[in-house]
Amino acid sequence: MNWRRLRTLIRREILATFRDPFTMTILVTVPLAALLVFGFVLSTEVKGLRLGVVDAARSSASRRLIAELGAKGTFVPQPFNTRAALEAALVAGNISAAIVIPPDFDRDLRAAGVARERPQVQVIYDGGEATLAGNAEGFLRTLIANTSAAVLADDGVGAGRGIEVVTRALFNPTLDGTPFMVSGTFGFVLSFLTVLITAVSIVTEKITGTFEQLQVTPATSLEILLGKILPMGAVFALDVVLMVLVAGLVLHVWPRGSVVFFVLVSSFYVLVSLGLGLIISATSATAAEAVQKSVLFSIPLVQLSGFAFPIRSMPRFVQWIAEVFPATHYIRVSRAIYMRGEGPITLLPELALLLLFGILLVGYALRTIEARR
C-alpha cells in the first residue's frame, strides 16, 4: 500500500465531493429530512385520529367515556346522530374509526358486577387500512376498559367484568394485511420504477449526443415526449396486467372492482409518472444525478404516499404534503378498487386529481425537453 497515493486519492475524492453542490445538498439535507420525516410520520403512536361517535345512551357515563377518549389526544371525537351517517363518513375517509354506544350503556355498566351480560361498545373501522385499524382498536379497547373501571370506582362499585368491546371491520374483516400491501405495491412499483427508468433516458441521450441531434430534426417536443413515454407506458401497462395475475394466482388477492378499470387507471398513472421521470431526466446533467434524484424521490414516496404507513395517522401538515404526490392518489384509487370494489363514479375526485397531475407533469416535461433555452 502506497500511503501517499492513497492520500492523494482521498484528497481528490473529498475535493470532488465538496465541490459538487448537488452531492453536498444530498449529504446534508437527506439525513435531516429523513430524521424529521421518520420522527413525525413513522411514529407508531396513534394520535389525533378522528373518531366518529354515535352516543345512543346520552348518559353521564357515556359522555364521560367520550370525554376520556378525547382527553388523551389519541382521538378527536366527532359526534354522529345515526349509524348510517357514521358508516358513510368512515367509508369516505372522513373519520378513521368509530364507536357506537348503545342506549342502555349506563344501566349495563352499573349492573356489570352482578348481571350476566357485560355492557357492549361497538368499535367500527376500515379494515382496509389494517395497520391503522389494528392500532386504533388496541387503543380503544384499553381506553374503554380504563374509563369504565374509573366510572365504576367513582360510583363505589367494584370493577366488575368491564365493558365488552365488539369490533366490526367495514372491509377486510380479518385485518389481513396482504390486500393492503398488494394494492399499495402497485403504487410504489409503478411510481419508483417508471421514474427510475425514464430518469436516465434523456440524460443518456444528452451525453451520447443523440438528443441534440433529435432536437435539430423536424421532430417536435411533443413527438419526442410521446416517443419516450408511450412505448414505456405500454411496457408498464403489461407489467400491471402481470402483477394483477401474480397477485391473484400466487397471493390470492384479486381486485374486488373491475380489473379492466384498474388496468386503465394504472396505465394512465404510468404516463403521469413517466412525465415526472422525464422532468428529472431533462433537468439532470449526468445519469448518476438522475438516479440520485429518483432515489431521493422514492424516500417520501414510501413514507408519505400511504404505501406503507396510513396517511390518516400522520400529522395534519404532513397529510397536506402527502396530497401533493400523485402516488398518494393512485394508491388511494388502487386500494379503493382492490379492497372496496369501487368504480369510476365514486372515485371521480381522485381520478380528476390524477388527470390534473398528468396535465401538469407532462406539460412541464414538455417544457423541459423543448429545444431552446
Partner: protein, 311 residues
Amino acid sequence: MSTPIIRAHGLTRRFGDFTAVDNLSIEVLPGTIFAFLGANGSGKSTTIRMLIGLLRPTAGTIEVDGIDVIKRPRKVRDHIGYMGQKVSLYAGLSLRENVEFYAGLYDLSARQLAQRWGALRERFALGDTENEKAEDLPAGVRQRAGLALSTLHQPRVLFLDEPTAGVDVHNRELFWELIQDEAQAGVTAFVTTHFLEEVDYCDWVCFIDAGRLIANAAPETLRQRHSEGCRIRVVLPVEEQARCAEVLSAVGRPLGCDATSLQVAVAALDPQVLAALDAAAAVCPQAEIHIEQTHMTDVFRRVLAESGAAI
C-alpha cells in the same frame, strides 16, 4: 455577388454574468465551406447552437436560408443538417437501423430512402458496415456515417461541430473530400474545428476568441495579412537555372539560388505567381516546385497576438 445563406448580426449570448458570444456578425455565402475556429470555450459551440435554433440568443438576429431562426426555429430544421461533436448514432441499433430512424424523422418515403441511402452508402463507403451495431463501428466510419446521416434529407446548409475530432489523418482527409463534394453540389458547410491546418480546405475562415470575432476572411487573405507569405523553391539542375530564373522574374520578387535550386518569397499565390510557376514548369519539365506556406497555426498565433487590431 450572391446573397448570403447564413446571416448573423450582433449575435450575443450571456449566461448570467458570463458572455459566451459577444456581438458576433457573420455572413456565409451559399455553396462555400465556412470554417469557424476558436479554442475550447471560445464560444464556437454556443454560436453553432444559436444558428441551428437550439439556443436562443440574448441579442442579435439570425437568418438561415431566408428563415428567421429566432422567430421560427422549427422551420429551419428542414433546411439544415447537423452533425454534433459526438456522432449521434443510437447504440444498440445497426447503422442501417439508425439510417431508417433518421429517415423516418425527416419523413422520407421508402423509395426516397432507398434512392438517397443507396447513393450515400456508396459515396461514403459505408456498404460493408451498414449491418453493424453503431457502437462497433470504427471512429472513421462513425464519422462518415454521421455526415451521411446529416445529409440524408439533402439539406441546403450543413452545420458540422468539430466533425473530425478523434479521427485519424487518413479519415480526416477522406472526410474533408466528402465535405468538399457536398459544397461542389451546392451545399453550404459551416464547420467548427480546432485543427488549424483544415482551414485550407475551406473558402472562408472566422476566428473567435472569448466570444468575440477576431478574424473574418479567406484563408489566403489571412495568410497575407498575418505572415510573410509563401516561400517557393524550384529544385532543378544548375544548367537549367538561368532559363528558369528568366521565367520566374515575372513574379517581380528577388530570386535566390544555390547549387540545386532557385528560391523566391511571395506575399500570396496570386494569379501572376501561379502563371509564372506554370511557365517555369513548361520551360523546365524536370523542375520540382515546392511551395512552403506559413502554417495556419502561426497565422492564428499572430491573429491572436494582434487581436486588438482591426480585422
